[in-house]
């Protein structure tokens, strides 16, 4: 069904769509994950220590959300232009599960602890490390989707 769609055909025909979508995807995750990482670095006491975590989250949140929307849309474009390859790829579904976990985690537990008035330092650190780990795994998943079948 998906493969017969005219929009998908247009994607397959245009050679520049895939590399362009990849560039948007990379630029988007640099901003999205990078802005989340700034919050994590603060939670780990490693950067921007003069500010509270909650404040850093407030400054970065809009950038994170807008960037992640670009990442999701460009990702969907990549998927739709090569659906048959992604559907048989063994790494791709793993990446999607980790991505889903990272997204849910980011807007629930991570957000909750980042906006807490006085969170226990150990809790902040564990939550930040978990966040960094999830996003790094998503990046690794993306590269490995391209390299393994």
């Amino acid at each position: 069904m998906l493969l017969q769609n005219t929009f998908v055909d247009a994607l397959n025909d245009a050679e520049w769509v895939f590399p362009l979508a990849e560039c948007v995807h990379i630029g988007g995750f640099a901003i999205g994950v990078g802005s989340i990482a700034l919050v994590d670095f603060r939670m780990l006491n490693l950067g921007l220590r003069q500010e509270t975590t909650a404040r850093i989250l407030r400054y970065t949140e809009l950038w994170t959300i807008v960037a992640l929307i670009f990442v999701l849309f460009s990702g969907a474009t990549l998927f739709l232009s090569q659906t048959h390859i992604y559907l048989i790829n063994q790494i791709f579904p793993i990446k999607m599960y980790i991505l889903l976990a990272a997204l849910i985690y980011n807007f629930t537990i991570h957000r909750k602890v980042a906006t807490m008035e006085n969170p226990p330092p150990a809790l902040s650190k564990v939550v930040a490390i978990m966040s960094l780990l999830l996003w790094v795994l998503v990046v690794f998943g993306g590269i490995f989707t391209g390299f393994l079948e």
Partner: protein, 160 residues
């Protein structure tokens, strides 16, 4: 034997290119650095443009994140060198690779030009009411150059 061929034939570099797993792992580390430290570069520039982090001083933003950007930049260059030298004969003919290297050179030029007048004078900037034009120019150029960097980086894969 050309320089690129001799580079490729260095033992550990050819083992590296032949390995199924090592190349994507190094590439993933390269991209993880883009995500973690590219975000810092972006946020610093947005702060210079007055678009976010307004209650944080420019001084804090620049001095706090500088060591991390250096760490990130070092890892990025190290992993980038591994990637490029392991397939040196391919990269040597790739125009996107050379464009990327020119942009990298321009990023260093940007640093030399704007460090003394912007990034090392943040306290002065924090005291001034409006954002001086040179600061905006520095921030916008930095954003343009880094966008060029990752775009060319991705396009390297498309040259045959």
């Amino acid at each position: 034997m050309s320089i690129s061929q001799s580079l490729e034939s260095i033992g550990f570099l050819s083992d590296f290119a032949d390995s199924v797993l090592v190349y994507p792992i190094v590439l993933s580390i390269h991209l993880t650095c883009i995500a973690l430290f590219g975000g810092m570069i972006l946020m610093t520039n947005l702060r210079l443009l007055g678009l976010t982090f307004n209650s944080v001083t420019i001084t804090q933003m620049v001095t706090n994140l500088r060591p991390w950007k250096l760490v990130g930049g070092t890892i990025m260059i190290a992993t980038g060198l591994l990637l490029a030298t392991s397939e040196a004969t391919k990269y040597a003919l790739n125009p996107f690779f050379w464009t990327k290297m020119i942009i990298l050179g321009l990023i260093f030029v940007h640093g030399f030009v704007f460090r003394p007048i912007v990034y090392n004078r943040t306290e002065e900037l924090d005291r001034s009411a409006a954002i001086p034009a040179k600061v905006k120019v520095a921030a916008i150029l930095s954003l343009v150059l880094w966008t060029g960097m990752f775009t060319m980086g991705r396009l390297i894969a498309y040259w045959e």
